[in-house]
Structures are given as C-alpha cells and as structure tokens.
C-alpha cells in the first residue's frame, strides 16, 4: 500500500517495509545465482590457457599483418555470392511472408485454423538458426549458393511475417471503416485502407531483414552454403591468418555498407 496513514496524515512511500524486504531478497537471490555460476565456470576453465591468451592473440596479430592483399581477387567474387544469397533469400522470404502475415493477423485471417497454420510456420522458421537450416538443406540439395539462399530464406520467413502481422493487427481501424463506408469492395478496402498504412512497415522490415541476412550469409559458407564464409573457414584451417584478415576486412566493409543502406531506406519510407 503506497499511501499510508500516519497520525491522521496521508503520506506516500514507494514501498512499504514488507515490499522492500521482498525486493532485497530478490537481489540477494540474484547475486547468489551469479556467484554459484561463476564458481562452476571457473572450475571448468583451464587457467593456463587463459593466462596464455594475450601472447596467443599477439601471435595471431603478428601473423595476420600485413594482410595478403592479393587474396582480394578470390574474396570479391565470393563476396558477390554472399550478397546475392542475402538478396535472393530475402526476396523469396518476403514472397512467402506476406501471405503468411495476412493469414496470421487476427483482423485479416479468413479462419482461425489458417491462423494456427501460419503461426506454426512462423515458429518453425524462427526457432532454427540459419546455420542449422543450411546444414540440413546442404544434405538435401547439395552444397552451393542455392542451399544458402534456401537456408537464409527459410530462416527469414518467420521474423518477417511476425513483424508484418503484428503491424497488421495494430493498424488504424478508422480509415478502413471510412473506406468501407463509401461502398468500396473488399479488394478496394485492402488497396486503399490497408496497403498505404502497411507499406512503410513492410519495406522497413524487408530492408532490415536483408541487412541481417548479409551478416548471416557471410557465415553460411562454413557449412557449404556458398559465399565468403567458405574462404574464411579454409584460410583458418590452413593457418593462413593474413588471408583470413582479408576476408574479415571484406565482411566488415560489406556489413557497414549494408547497414547504412538499410538505415537510409528505412528513414526514407516512414
């Protein structure tokens, strides 16, 4: 009870003594959990390796500098593959995600069983990491770009449709009522009432997911999904640190560029 009576005068305090005791106990419990976990992790760690880490890191750095600039000749085509995986994966995902989102939103779904189906698709897609999707898909379609596109696409459907259907459910009902009140048909209500409200969200979500996919597709080559990840993996396996550094620089530049494009597009459509 935040409002208390004392000597006939009303006063307000944030927590009464019982509440603050409960609050302290929560913090104490949290601290105990952290201490126990730290002890457990400490027991599992080989401290010799950790103490050696600065020396090891310095060794990596000395071996990777100067980077092997000539390796860019192999990195650039692979990077192009990576960007393509992201673009086509995202595009494919959007094609599937828009109908899925319309089925999943309470206010646009034709039937609750279709809504359940759409929500299942979303959960399945979201709950498996794209690297794991790639591992599975490479078994089915063989290694290469196509496997990467599929993995990225399947992984993206869930997030894109989830964000889209949430925005459909939060739509402003008033303009839709107004358009219906003119005698417009269902398709026209959709075109004039829903589309203008949803378009900026849809574009924003798509571009954001594309940016995430650029990052994800750099790694997917490690398991055979094509793209620059394969080169990174092979450079590390060959202990060719000067080449690995080149790959990392290329990835960093691409990701920074993708993020700035994505931010600009999203700012333009709101």
């Amino acid at each position: 009870m935040p409002v208390v009576q004392k000597d006939g005068v009303s006063n307000w305090i944030r927590r009464d003594p019982k509440d603050s005791m409960r609050n302290y106990l929560k913090w104490l419990g949290g601290a105990i959990v952290v201490l126990i976990a730290a002890r457990y992790i400490g027991a599992q760690t080989i401290w010799g390796f950790v103490l050696d880490a600065p020396a090891q890191a310095a060794d990596f750095v000395s071996r990777s500098v100067p980077p092997d600039i000539t390796y860019f000749r192999r990195v650039l085509p692979a990077l192009w593959d990576t960007v393509n995986i992201a673009v086509f994966g995202t595009a494919g995902a959007v094609v599937v995600a828009i109908p899925t989102a319309l089925l999943a939103a309470r206010n646009t779904t034709p039937h609750s069983s279709l809504r359940a189906l759409a929500l299942t698709i979303i959960v399945v897609s979201r709950s498996v990491n794209s690297l794991i999707w790639a591992l599975l898909i490479v078994q089915v379609v063989g290694p290469g770009l196509f496997a990467g596109v599929l993995a990225i696409g399947i992984r993206s459907v869930g997030m894109i449709s989830k964000l889209m259907y949430e925005s459909i459910e939060e739509i402003n009902r008033e303009p839709i009522e107004a358009i219906s009140a003119t005698g417009a048909g269902r398709t026209q209500v959709f075109l004039y009432g829903y589309v203008p409200q949803l378009l900026p969200v849809f574009v924003g979500v798509t571009v954001y997911r594309w940016e995430v996919n650029i990052r994800e597709s750099t790694i997917i080559g490690i398991v055979g999904g094509g793209g620059v990840g394969f080169l990174l993996n092979s450079a590390i396996n060959r202990l060719a640190w000067d080449q690995a550094l080149v790959v990392l620089i290329a990835i960093l530049a691409t990701v920074v560029l993708a993020e700035s494009i994505s931010a600009k597009v999203r700012a333009a459509v709101t």
Binding site: P175, E177, A178, S180, A181, T182, G183, A184, Y192, P200
Partner: protein, 280 residues
C-alpha cells in the same frame, strides 16, 4: 427517407447500447443527436450504414430495408450514405486528392481504382469540392501534412464526392478548437442545404446543435428521451437527457441563436480557410 424502428444493439461484451430506437429523417431534414458519451449516439449512426451490425429492428432508406441486405447489396446501399468521422478517418499516407476520390470507390472497378484511373467527371467534381472547402492548392499534399480543420474538410469532400442522399456525421467537431468547429459545422450545413441532402449528425456540443439544425433528438442510455425543435430544448429537456445540472447557459443560448437564425443563416462568414489554419 430514413425510417428506423425498434432498433436494438447489444454488444457481445457490454451492456445494451440501443434499446429500441424509433426515428425518422425526412428528405432535406437536418437532425442532431445529442446525449452523454455512451448514450449510444455513435452506435446509432453506425448501425445505419452497418459499420456496426444492429441486433434487432428495421432501418429503411428510401424504401430499401438495410438490415436485410447481403454484402453486395449493402455496398450499393452504402454509396448513397456519406459519412464524416470524428477523427477524420483519412488515409494518412495518401494525397488529399486520393482521399477525396476514394469516395467514388463504390462506382469504380477494382483495377481502375488500383491504378488511380478515375472517370474525368469524378475528378472534376473532386476538384470543385476541394475548391469549395478551400483546399484547392492542397490537391497533392499528403493527408498527414494537414491541420485538424483541414483534415476534416478533406473528410467532408470525400463524403460529398460520393454524391450521397443521406449524410451521416459522427462528432465532426470534437477534435477541433471552438472557432474551427463552428466553421466546419457551417460548411457541412451549407453544403447539405445546397444539395438538398438529409443529415443525421451526432454531436456533443449542444450549442452547435441548436445553432445549425432544425430538429434535436436526445438519446439517453440507448433510448430517445427528447425530440423537438431547438427552441423546445429547455432546461427541463436538458436535464432529461444529461441529468441534473445548471443548464441556464445552454438553454438561453439555444433560444438566442434560434431567434436570430432567420437572418443569421445567410451571414457570409467565409473566413479564408488557408490563412486561418496554417498547416502543421
């Protein structure tokens, strides 16, 4: 023209919003619905074009029984009823012109409307209406760039672009300042009278209701408790509609306004709209 009888609306979750409403609006008549919030005014207006489905009762518009129509027939019937909303209900990201033209969606095919290819006479009428409401220069402005009063003018133009026989108006001035509210009310009433339309307007502001309409209907808890001219809306009637309160100011202004209505009606108080309401 509009005959409502025994109209009942029961919301699944809440109490009964309308408990047997009988109401007639004649051709060319302007009827104001007043009452407290939650009295059922909005529900009543929305039952007529079935944005809210009535539970029981009959609504006849020019002989057509609206409650019995299927989806397709309802669309046709809706073309004859224009509606103006409290929060304007414009599509924010469409231009002023697109918003006004959306009043014709009931007449234009899906593909043509998707491509924004409206018949030339629709476009011409839209331009005339925009001229009339003082927004001719704002044709290509996006609706969310306008001020509240300007937005409501677009809402008015959209409703009239339909060329309706009946205008349903739901609290057109509640989101506006008192001066803009009067300008908007005057504009609606002028346009309705020019075109000989009927109007059912649901309005909070008793003074505006008595100033601009000929018949007042008081709704209280889903039932009609008063029906009469603005002069008949005395303190006793206001108490019946709203409950016990000092109604001196309202009833006095009602009588004063209606007294000078004879010559006051034509007073040409066209404030230049664009200067009066700078865009946001």
């Amino acid at each position: 023209m509009l005959e409502i009888s025994g109209l009942v609306k029961r919301y699944p979750s809440g109490p009964q919003a309308l408990r047997g409403v009988d109401l007639t609006v004649k051709t060319g008549e302007l009827v104001a619905l007043i009452g407290t919030s939650g009295a059922g005014k909005s529900t009543l207006v929305r039952c007529i074009n079935r944005l809210v489905e009535p539970t029981e009762g009959k609504i006849r518009l020019d002989g057509t029984e609206l409650t019995a129509l299927d989806h397709r027939e309802l669309r046709h019937a809706r073309r004859n009823m224009g509606m103006i909303f409290q929060e304007y209900a414009l599509v924010d990201r469409l231009s002023v012109m697109e918003n006004v033209l959306s009043g014709r969606l009931g007449y234009v095919g899906v593909w043509k409307s998707a491509m924004r290819r409206f018949p030339p006479e629709d476009v011409r009428r839209a331009l005339e209406l925009l001229e009339r409401v003082g927004l001719r220069e704002y044709v290509d402005t996006r609706a969310d760039q306008l001020s509240g009063g300007q937005r409501q003018r677009v809402g008015i133009a959209r409703a009239l672009e339909q060329q309706p026989a009946l205008l349903l108006v739901d609290e057109p001035t509640s989101s506006l300042d008192p001066k803009t509210a009067r300008q908007i009310m005057r504009l609606i009433v002028e346009l309705v009278k020019e075109r000989g339309l009927s109007m059912l307007i649901n309005i909070h502001d008793v003074n505006l209701a008595t100033m601009f309409t000929e018949r007042i209907v008081g709704l209280q808890d889903g039932k009609i408790v008063f029906e009469g001219t603005p002069e008949e809306l005395n303190e006793e009637a206001l108490t019946k509609i709203y409950g016990e309160e000092d109604w001196h100011a309202e009833s006095r202004s009602a009588q004063a306004e209606t007294a000078d209505n004879g010559n006051g009606e034509k007073s040409d108080e066209h404030v230049p709209l664009n200067t009066a309401e700078p865009g946001r």
